[in-house]
Point group: C2
Chain length 515, copies 2
C-alpha cells in the first residue's frame, strides 16, 4: 500500500486554503448546498458538532444556565432601539417581507403582493434584542437575579465571501445571555464563560487558545468589553474561536431590563452574552489535520475506534467468523472508559473494499483504526493503526499487532494518549510560531514581508491607544494585513515602549493575520 495511494492531492505546505477544502470533502464533513453561502453539514461533520454540543452543553449547565428557545424572527423595531448594535449588523441580515407565495402569469412562484408583512422581520443574526425583551418581562426583583440563559440555534449573517465552517451565511451556534445585579458580577461572569470556552477548546478539542480582551475596535456591536479565545492555525493565522461580551447596561436600557434592589429602588441590570459556533469545527480541521486528512481528537470523535473486517466475499463462513471476531472486540471495548466516557466503537460492515475503507477512515481522522483479516484472526491478533502516528520510518503504515485481548486493554489508554499528543503537538507548534523580539513597526513590516508563508503571530507591547489614535494603529496594521487579536489575560508589559506610539507600554498584545 503506497503512500501516494491515499494522500490528499493538496499538501498543507503547497496551498493551505485548497488543502482545507479538500479535507472537508475527503473527510466527508460538509459541502456547498447550492443555496448562497449555506452549507450542508454531512454526518461526520455533524457528528463532531454533536460531540462539541454535548460537551459544551454540560459545561454551560454546570455553570448554572438553563437552555431555552427564542423566535428566529426579530422585528425591525428591536434593532432600532440599540443604535450601535444595528450599525454592526444591519449590513448583513436576511429580511422576511412576505408570508405567502403565488404563481404568476408565467407559471413562476413569486411573493404574493397581498401578503406583505406590515413590519418586515429579520432572521436573527444574534438574539440580544429579542432575549432582552424576555428578560425585561422575567426580571422584577433582585431575587430573580442572576438570570442565566442559553440557546442552541441557527443564525444568519449575509456574508459576501463564505468558506465552509469558517464563515457561512447560516451557521449553528450556542448563545448565552445573562442578567446580573451589578457590574462586578456581570464582568466576573463574562470571564467565567470565557474560561468555559478555553476549557472546551483545550480539553475537548485539544486546540490551544489564548484568552484575552479584544481591542476597542473589535468589540461586539453594543458591548462594553469583548473577550475572545484565539487559536493558531497551521498556516500561522489566528482563528477567533469564541467570544464573551460584557454589555454593561446598553441592552438593559434599550429593552428595559430592570430590577428592584434590596433597598426597594429600581436599577438596570448588567448583561452579558457569549457564543461559539460551527466555526470551531474549522478550527479543529486547521489545528489537527495533516496531509492525509483530518485527525479528530478522541474526545470529540463520533467514533473513536473503527473496526474493519477484511472480508474476502468468497467463503461466507470464513467472513462470518471474521465479523464475529470484530464484534467480540467491539463488545470488550464498549465496556471500557477513555477520556471520562465510554469508548465509542463501531464495526464498519458497509459495502466496499476493506483497504479503501481504511483510507476513508484515515481521511476522516478516526483516532484508532483496527483491521481484522483471516490471518489476524488465526493468530489471535488485530492490526491496529493510530491516526496520530500513521507512518513507520519505512514509509509504510505503522501497524501494530497486539492480541485481541491486549488491544481491548490498551486502546482506552491509547485514546487518552492521542488526545494529549494532539494538544501538545498543537501547543508546541503554536509557541514556536510566536515571535517576541519585535519592537518597531519597521521590524514588524520586515518580519511579515520576509516571512510570506506561515509567519505566525507576533507579541508586541502597546500603550493601549483609544479612539482616533487606535484607528490609526488599526490602519497601519491593515497595510500589513494584520489585526490585533487580543490582550492576553496575564501579560504585563516588559520594559519596552509602545510599538505604535513610542509611549510607555501598558500591555502586551498579539498581532496576526486572521480568518
Amino acid at each position: 500500500m503506497s503512500n501516494i495511494r491515499h494522500a490528499l492531492t493538496v499538501k498543507r505546505a503547497d496551498d493551505f486554503a485548497a488543502w482545507y477544502q479538500e479535507v472537508i470533502s475527503a473527510a466527508d464533513m460538509a459541502e456547498e448546498s447550492g443555496v448562497r453561502g449555506c452549507m450542508v453539514i454531512k454526518p461526520w461533520g455533524y457528528g463532531i458538532w454533536e460531540r462539541v454540543q454535548y460537551l459544551l452543553d454540560q459545561r454551560i449547565k454546570d455553570t448554572g444556565h438553563d437552555n431555552c428557545y427564542f423566535p428566529i424572527f426579530i422585528p425591525l423595531s428591536n434593532f432600532e432601539r440599540e443604535a450601535e448594535h444595528v450599525d454592526g449588523f444591519a449590513k448583513e441580515m436576511a429580511v422576511v417581507t412576505h408570508h405567502r407565495l403565488i404563481t404568476n402569469g408565467k407559471g413562476r412562484l413569486v411573493p404574493d403582493p397581498e401578503a406583505k408583512l406590515e413590519e418586515p422581520l429579520v432572521v436573527r443574526p444574534t438574539s440580544e434584542t429579542i432575549i432582552g425583551d424576555a428578560m425585561a418581562r422575567w426580571v422584577q426583583s433582585w431575587r430573580d437575579l442572576p438570570l442565566k440563559l442559553n440557546q442552541w440555534a441557527n443564525v444568519v449573517r449575509w456574508e459576501m465571501r463564505t468558506r465552509m465552517f469558517l464563515r457561512t451565511s447560516e451557521f449553528l451556534w450556542q448563545e448565552g445571555h445573562t442578567a446580573h445585579d451589578g457590574e462586578l458580577e456581570a464582568k466576573e461572569h463574562t470571564l467565567r464563560m470565557l474560561e468555559v470556552y478555553r476549557a472546551c477548546a483545550e480539553e475537548d478539542l485539544a486546540m490551544p487558545v489564548i484568552a484575552g480582551e479584544k481591542p476597542e475596535n473589535e468589540r461586539f456591536p453594543g458591548a462594553v468589553e469583548t473577550w475572545s479565545i484565539e487559536a493558531m492555525m497551521q498556516d500561522g493565522k489566528a482563528l477567533q474561536a469564541g467570544t464573551s461580551h460584557y454589555l454593561g447596561t446598553n441592552f438593559s436600557e434599550a429593552a428595559g431590563i430592570k430590577f428592584q434592589n434590596q433597598d426597594g429602588d429600581q436599577e438596570l441590570c448588567h448583561t452579558t452574552s457569549w457564543g461559539v459556533s460551527t466555526r470551531m469545527i474549522g478550527g479543529v480541521i486547521m489545528t489537527h489535520g495533516d496531509d492525509d486528512g483530518l485527525r479528530v481528537p478522541p474526545t470529540i470523535a463520533p467514533w473513536q475506534v473503527v473496526i474493519l473486517p477484511m472480508l474476502r466475499g468468497k467463503d461466507e463462513a470464513a467472513d462470518a467468523a471474521i465479523v464475529d471476531y470484530c464484534d467480540s472486540l467491539k463488545d470488550s471495548l464498549k465496556g471500557t472508559v477513555a477520556c471520562g466516557e465510554k469508548v465509542r466503537v463501531m464495526v464498519d460492515k458497509s459495502h466496499g473494499k476493506a483497504a479503501a475503507k481504511r483510507w476513508d477512515w484515515v481521511r476522516k481522522g478516526a483516532p484508532v483504526v483496527v483491521e481484522v483479516g483471516s490471518r489476524d484472526m488465526d493468530n489471535g491478533v488485530v492490526s491496529l493503526l493510530r491516526r496520530d502516528a500513521l507512518w513507520a520510518e519505512s514509509g509504510k503504515p505503522d501497524f501494530h499487532a497486539p492480541s485481541k485481548h491486549d488491544a481491548a486493554e490498551q486502546i482506552p489508554a491509547m485514546l487518552e494518549e492521542i488526545q494529549t499528543n494532539l494538544f501538545a503537538e498543537a501547543q508546541e507548534r503554536r509557541d514556536a510560531n510566536i515571535t517576541r523580539d519585535i519592537t518597531t513597526m519597521d521590524q514588524l513590516a520586515d518580519f511579515y514581508n520576509d516571512n510570506t508563508q506561515y509567519p505566525g503571530w507576533v507579541e508586541v507591547q502597546w500603550s493601549k491607544p483609544t479612539g482616533a489614535a487606535l484607528e490609526q494603529v488599526v490602519e497601519q496594521l491593515k497595510g500589513l494585513k494584520l489585526t490585533i487579536r487580543n490582550v492576553p489575560m496575564d501579560a504585563a508589559p516588559i520594559d519596552q515602549p509602545c510599538i505604535f506610539t513610542g509611549d510607555t507600554a501598558v500591555e502586551r498584545i498579539y498581532v496576526a493575520r486572521a480568518y
Copy 2:
C-alpha cells in the same frame, strides 16, 4: 394548606382551552414572544423537549440514521419542481426578499432596495426538496442505499391561528428522510419509523396512541401514503402527534435521485420522510395535566425528584444542617436508576418560601417532591409527595414520611410506578371514550350533537371511497366539525355496511374532532 390555595383558576371541565393556556403559564413552560405566531420556550418546557429529543434521537440512531444539517433557506425553484408539494405549502411560507437594511429618511430601518435577492428564498416549512437535492448528489449506486438521514431543526409555516406548542409559525422538530432501492423497502421503513414514534409516545411520553394510515385527503403534499399516530386529549379531541410518509418516486423524480441497480440500469429511488415536533409537548400537557397543573411522566421529566429544604431563615446553623440533610439524600439518589437511566434529582435552594415552592413544583409537574423541615430531620424522615397521587381522601396533600434511607430506596421504583400509572390512566380514559356502536350518519350526528362536551372518538366502518366520493364524505363530516383521523393498522371490518355509502365496508376508521 388548603386545596384552593394552589389550584389553577380554571378547571379542565369548565374551559379546557383556557385551562391549557393556564397550565403552560403556571408551569412556566412557554409564553407568547411578541413576534407574530412565535413563542418563547422557557426552561421547564425546553427541558422536557430536550428529554424528548434525547430519547427519540437514540431511537432514530438505533434504526441506523445519521444526523446532519441542511440550509434553512430553500430557493423558490425547488418548490416549482414538485407541483403537489408546493400547492400544499405555498400558502403559508415566510419569504426572504432582501439581504440588507438601511435607515430611511425618517430614521426608520427598511429593507435596502439595492439589496433585493434575484431569487427570493423561502424559510423551510419542511426539507424534502433541499434534502432531495443532496440525495441526488450522494446516491449513485445500489451500494449507497438505503440512505438514512435525520435533522433536528426549526421550521416555519405561516399559521393564521396559533396556539402554543400545538400550532406556531416557527416550531422545532426532527425530520427524517430516507432513500431506498424499491417500493417494498421504502414502505417497510415508513412503518418502521411510525413504530418508533409509537414507542416514543407510549413508552417515553406515557401517551397512548393509535397508529394508522391517514385517508387520501389528509396526505402530506406529494406523498403516496401518510401514516400517523393519533392521541386522545382529555377533552376527547384527537391530536396528530407524528406522521410518516411514503413518498414513492415523486420527490426522486423532481430532484433526480437515481441509482444504478445491480444489473447496471438506472432507477429512481423510493423515498420516505417523517417528523415529530414540539407539538408533542402540547400532547403531554393535554394527556397528563390535571386541575393542579402539569404532571410530567418521569421518563421525560428534566428533574424527577425535587428536594425542598424548608428553611426558616433565622438560625443559620439549623438551616445549613437541613441543606446538608437534603444534599445527602440527593447524593444517595444520584446513584440509583429508574426507567433505565440515572435518577435526575435536584435540591431547590432558590429564594422564596418553601411552601410556595412546593406548589410551583406541583404546577410544573415534577413527579416526586420531597420536603425536609427541621422536624423531619430530627425524626430522620422526609415528607414526600407523589404528583400522580397528590391528595389524600381527607382533601389534604397526601404526604408520606419514610425514613431518609427508605426514601432513597423507594423513590426509583416509585418513579417507574408513576410512569406506568400515567400511561394506564390515559389509556383507560382513551378506551372509555371510543364509541363503537354507531352505524349510520344520523346516529353519528346525534352522538356529537348530544355530547357537546368531550364526546371522544367514534370508530366506524367504511368502504374506503376515493376522489370525489371521499370529498363528499369529508364535507359531510365537516358539517359536524369531524375529521377522519386514521385507519388503524389492525382493524379489519366487522360485518357492517359503510357508514357513509352503505356499500360493503373494508376497513374500520376513527372519526373525531381534532387539534
